[in-house]
Amino acid sequence: MSTVYRFGPSVPIQCHAWSSDRSALAISHNDNTVEVHQKGPGGWKQTEVLAQHDLRVNDIDWAPKTNRIVTCSADRNAYVWVQGPDGKWKHTLVLLRINRAATCVRWSPQENKFAVGSGARIISVCYFEQENDWWVAKHIRKPLRSTITTIDWHPNNILLAAGSTDFKVRVFSTYIKEIEPKPAATEWGAKMPFTNLMAEFSNSPTGGGWIHAVSFSADGTRLAWVGHDSSIAIADAPNGMVMMKLKTSLLPLLTMTWISPNKIIAAGHDCVPVLFTVDSAGRLSQGPRLEDGTVIEASVTSSAMNMFRNKDRVGQELLDSKLSSTHQNQICSLRILDGSKEGATRISTTAGDGVLVMWDLQTLSAKIQDLKL
């Protein structure tokens, strides 16, 4: 149902990305390197360390079709990594032309460009220019006035959703006439010149917390996001951009993805993924958690003895702070392992406890009715 993998010491895994056949995994342990692990008969083996960044790597994305890795870091740079014939990853620097940290990066669906959000209040959209043999970055500036925390691409390869620390979610057009044909009209609007703001949603009329994750549905008609005020919201483009927000009683969610046209899995500070369903009227409702808390046995006598033993050994009483969930710390990254946003059968999560957990939604759906796709 859920398989747990450890990669070295219990250092938080900030971000992770899978290769297209899921035999290789790129993770970053909250430092300036990216580890590439290969799945073999004996388990996971670290094959390479991509060490080019000077400061913490904030996000990784692995393009499935073209097999390229892009990493972005607090050192204001992004690198595109291509695998050579000998299997080694070769890097190319991408000048993002930002003067603050890069926070998030995602390949576009057709993988001919990628977008980088940053603390410079700029989104850099980068594409490869054949004549000069280098990556060119174009900027989206207006009307961004705050750090971009999360981005997600629309399936049409043009529209980009960005969540920000000014409590707003925006949809921009990233149409670059040098590399792609003019896009057809979508539910988000007909005119899509580069950097055009197609839609803007405020998480709450009075603040509402930073936006932690944003995600287009599989067909791109709906946009969902999670905010720090423990809420999850959906904007429905075909229904007049109407926004529906659900205030949960959980701790704030940090990451999310659609696993079917009307189901979302989100996870965050509660350390357990939670299912949300969207009904036909576009309303969100909270579903069950993917796992129930296992009861931690703590017999009275042993805990009192442990308390005095710890007092003697360490000089203070140690509290037993083990959580009843698989993850012991907040889940910061969630990816679809098998399937797509149309229908996902397995997802993977990494958390601040340095552990990667794969959740098999099909076997879990035997226990949790709502999960059945």
Binding site: T206, G209, D229, S231, T248
Partner: protein
Amino acid sequence: MAESDVETGDIAISYTGRSADDYMNQVQQNQRTFQQAAARNATKSIFSTLLRDPPYSHHPTLHPAQQLNFKLITDLLASIRTSDIPDVISSLGPEERNVMMKYLYQCMERPEDVNCAFVLSWHEKLVESEGVGGIMRVMTDPRSAAL
């Protein structure tokens, strides 16, 4: 933030556009409602009225209304028996519970002004119904109901 630091020209008087006098009238009216209800021992019924549209503002002209409202809400909360607290909470809507949670945290900021026992009882019962998400919504809400 000290009153002298505030540049009053830049800050809106209130989030709803109502004037300071308007809010003062509302608070004084609510005080009368509370006194009448307290005399009849029927304060359970006036929660919706008193928790509606509190004087949220960072502007100094609303501070007197905010002070009075804070005293009023704390008196109201203290007037309910512990055993009646769950009934009152279940009779309130989500926006009113949010307002109550904000006032509870204001009470915690000023322990010298309030009797802390009732604050903790109310907080415990409110968290049972709203969860930690309710606390997060207070923390991420910039509207201030008191100094």
